[in-house]
């Protein structure tokens, strides 16, 4: 029998997981719960019913193209409501099960609105977006293990130290094998010293822009968890926020 020693943060931390009908997957929740356990964080599940989509469904000509068959069919509000109800209930059950297993404090809430906007409206917590499940191109095996690839978006903000603390905690608990720090400026020399975890490979990547709306164009390590400062999203329009969560397929953690 292997004895696992869990090193956890002594700081009180709350993580909000933003879920909708497209992202409430078990893999995402398992990842989050593992991270929360290492970070000694409590969890808040926030299920957000996509109000914009509901509104679109009420348009007279609205239809949807099925992603498996390319078949066109009417987009019905009642059907969307039903799907959301089921997805919310499932997300709640999963969160309850996983949190209870790892003895984590948890709460669950439902809201209607736009995913990123609603999530960001909650203050005093880190925010976790599990990443949109992509129907296509899941060529690689889905890993059921907590993240081994971690990408930090460097913005030279005070939260970066907190991000490094998160990385350190996850690393010493064996959840990380590779850390990539993406920056549009040269990195301070002491960063490597702040991550002295044996067995974790460090990579640095200099890019033209680390602006959130440009993230989807970056070549990031496959299946990586992206850590970014919550403040980096300041100034984005609702549409830009919506596009970020819609088009970004990686799990994203916004550190408060």
């Amino acid at each position: 029998m292997t004895r696992v020693t869990v090193v956890s943060s002594s700081t009180e931390r709350r993580i909000l997981i933003a879920l909708d009908a497209y992202s409430a997957t078990e893999t995402g929740l398992v990842t989050l719960v593992s991270i929360a356990r290492r970070l000694n964080a409590s969890l808040t599940g926030l299920y957000i019913e996509d109000s914009q989509l509901m509104s679109v469904a009420e348009l007279p000509f609205s239809t949807e193209i099925n992603y498996l068959s390319a078949e066109e069919r009417e987009l019905q509000p009642a059907e969307l409501l039903r799907i959301n109800k089921i997805a919310a209930a499932r997300a709640r059950r999963l969160l309850e099960k996983l949190s209870s297993r790892d003895k984590l404090a948890w709460t669950f809430a439902e809201e209607s609105g736009e995913l990123a906007v609603c999530a960001l409206s909650h203050q005093g917590c880190d925010i976790f977006f599990p990443g949109r499940s992509r129907p296509y191109l899941s060529l690689q095996r889905q890993s059921s293990q907590p993240h081994q690839q971690l990408t930090l978006i460097y913005h030279c903000q005070p939260e970066f130290d907190r991000m490094l603390e998160v990385v350190r905690l996850l690393s010493v608990n064996g959840m990380v094998s590779d850390v990539t720090i993406v920056s549009e400026t040269p990195l301070p020399a002491d960063i490597a010293e702040k991550l002295p975890v044996q067995g974790v490979r460090l990579h640095f990547e200099l890019v033209r822009s680390t602006r959130p709306e440009q993230l989807r164009f970056l070549k990031l390590p496959v299946s990586s968890l992206i850590l970014m400062s919550k403040n980096a999203l300041n100034g984005l329009t609702e549409r830009q926020l919506a596009e970020l969560t819609e088009q970004f397929s990686y799990p994203l953690m916004l550190v408060n």
Binding site: A21, Y22, Q52, L53, S55, V56, E58, L59, P60, F61, S62, T63, E64, I65, N66, Y67, L68, A70, E72, L75, L80, I83, A87, R132, R134, P135, Y136, L137, L139, Q140, R141, S143, S144, Q145, R216, K219, P221, V222, T237, E238, R239, E246, Q247, S249
Partner: protein, 807 residues
Amino acid sequence: MTDKPLPPALPIESLYRRCDPATLSFKDTTELEHLDNYFGQDRALDAMRFGLGIHHEGYNIYVMGSPGMGKHEMLQDFLQQHIADDPRPNDWCYINNFSAPQQPKVLKLPCGVAGRLQKNMEQCIEDLLVTIPGVFQSAEYKARLNEISEEYSDKEQQAFTTLRDKAKERDIALMQTPTGYTLAPLAKDKIITPEEFEALDEAEQKTIEEKISELKEELKQVVLKMPMWMKEGRERMKKLNQNIVLNAVNQIFRELEIRYGEHAEVLNFLAEVKQDVIENVDAFREEEGHASGPEDLKARVHEFPMYKVNVLVDNSGTCSPPIVYEDNPSLNNLMGRVEHEAQFGTLTTDFTLIRNGALHRANGGYLLLDALKVLTNPFAWETLKRALHAHEIRIESIDQLLSLVSTKSLEPEPVPLDLKVILLGDRMIYYLLEAYDPDFKLLFKVPADLSEDLPRTADNTLGYARLIAALQHRKSLRPLDPGAVARVVEQGSRMLEDAEKLPLRLNSLTDLLCESDYYAAIAKADRISALHVQQAIEAAVRRMDQFRERVHESILRDIQLVDSSGAKVAQINGLSVYQLGEYAFGGPTRITAQARLGSGKVLDIEREVKLGGNIHSKAVLILSAFIASRFAKNRPLPISASLVFEQSYGGVEGDSASVAEITVLLSAIADIPIRQNLAVTGSINQHGQVQAIGGINQKIEGFYDICAARGLTGDQGVVMPSANTQHLMLASRVIDAVASGQFHIYAVSTIDEALSLLTGIPAGEPDQQAQYPANSVNGRVAAKVAEWIQLAKKYAVHDDKGDRREQ
């Protein structure tokens, strides 16, 4: 013409042929050179040598002999000596047929190679399980994998980004829904609400709808491309996986290919395995979090049965062709079978569950089977013949043979068959098969007929002693002294009912030796002596003779009426043998007759009530013919007579009572008393000659025992056929009584001799006018017959007159 003198009682030397221990020149059997089991079987051995030596189709062998001959041991010994220098047999395996898994392939390998290949393949799977996951962990692989993954991810993203941008230019937003995509109109970078849309004029609404409609078609095209890209991506990844492991897999197989370079079929198999491993390389990748300790590896080897080798026959331990005896030749035990495993309530199978049969194990050698067992096991005989005809072993279940089930099962490739089948059985089965099964003659062309006995000459007696020595040694018994050997020889002749023969039933002989050894052990003797042999013989009889005691007791208590003194008309003591398995005993039976004027018919009461067998009825017809021929050659025999075995409630069979029956019949006709102190046995032919019968020793002893129990009178005895004199091996109690003149045994050749002895009156020889002396038995019978003829004539005249009156 004078009457012939009565035949004298047999001298004591005729009653038992002793084996003089003095003629056996050894102290005990340890001094004797051992003799093979097949002593005295020259004819059968010649046939065996011929059958084993000839290599043409159908020259299989049928060894025939009675049960208890020791056929198996004899045959095993003979084969071991005969085949010592023959080539070693091949190993046989089943391997997966990668193009048709339901038809496993058979693999023939030199002796000892199959087991090695089996181990090597298991090690190979272990090596693959260690090596392949390692290859997938390499940085090179991960980089190339990411490249492909990103390429297709970019493709998808690019397609949707292009469409999204195009849509945005037209103030349309591309949105994801839980099960697909939708398009919605934008106004100032915000999605138009239904109310805002309603507020637009009709033309604007129509324009929006047209734009959406156009984009929708493009969206459909993009979505339709996704599965194609997905498939392409997967194929590239599969190719990548195959390429990345190719070198590692080649390295593992290279060693095996060198090791089995001489075996083209093994090389083909290895090439197929390698190809399959490469095509299904994902199966060897470790599951996440799956430990790969040595135990796990061993367990995981079983996940790849398709690469294993099922060794059907491993002859690595043998140095000569196999000799296989199948004790239970059922269809499965002969031909092999395909076993099944229950998995989640369903029966499944694969080539690793093919099990061998006796034909597989004996392939390249010799298969010994009991004919009766093969014939009585359903489908075994037909399937064996089919295999011998086709020269191949095809595994078929009874279900398949009967077409009872039509579920998918294995059809293993037949194994080429090259062996000699040796059937063992009795003669009756051989002749029945020869008569009724046309295939039998084609497949079993060599009969090896075992002798049941051999002449009891001095040389053979010494040979028999050597055979006894061999059996004693094999069974680890005490040595036998000459007296014991002599007693065994005598008992052999007794069991055979022939003083001139020695039996070759090794089982009985072995039993007698073992049982004698038991009594020697009780007596704490170093050697087995004649006394121990005698104790063993008597104990064996004692174990079986309760029924004899009951029968004799009923006679002695006058429940079953048998006289042993005095003289009675129309009543005689016949002798019967009761056969209880291998144990037989004899005893007297009263036979009576009645005769009167009649139509010339002898009524066999046993026959009438269906208690008489065919041979018995035949004997009665013969004696009727004899009487008619002797006493009424030129005229009708006006006699009606009846014969019966008194107090016989079971069946009567055989002709050994015909001398007694004719005697009692003539006694009834002529009112001549018959001596009850004599018993008689013997069959008769139509000319009045007395013929040999079976069970002579038991019959004599049976009557003697009754007389002895009542008290011997000195005039008692048995009349028997002289042809049976050579069979006499009587018990010592009878011989002692004869020696002291208390009991007499008479051997007769003709019915007249028997009549004279049994009636005490000369039988009478016919004179030149064919007339018998008046005071002879025949004369008195002839006179009575003449009297009845006259009476018959008188009654015939009365009948005629009566008839006329009626007219």
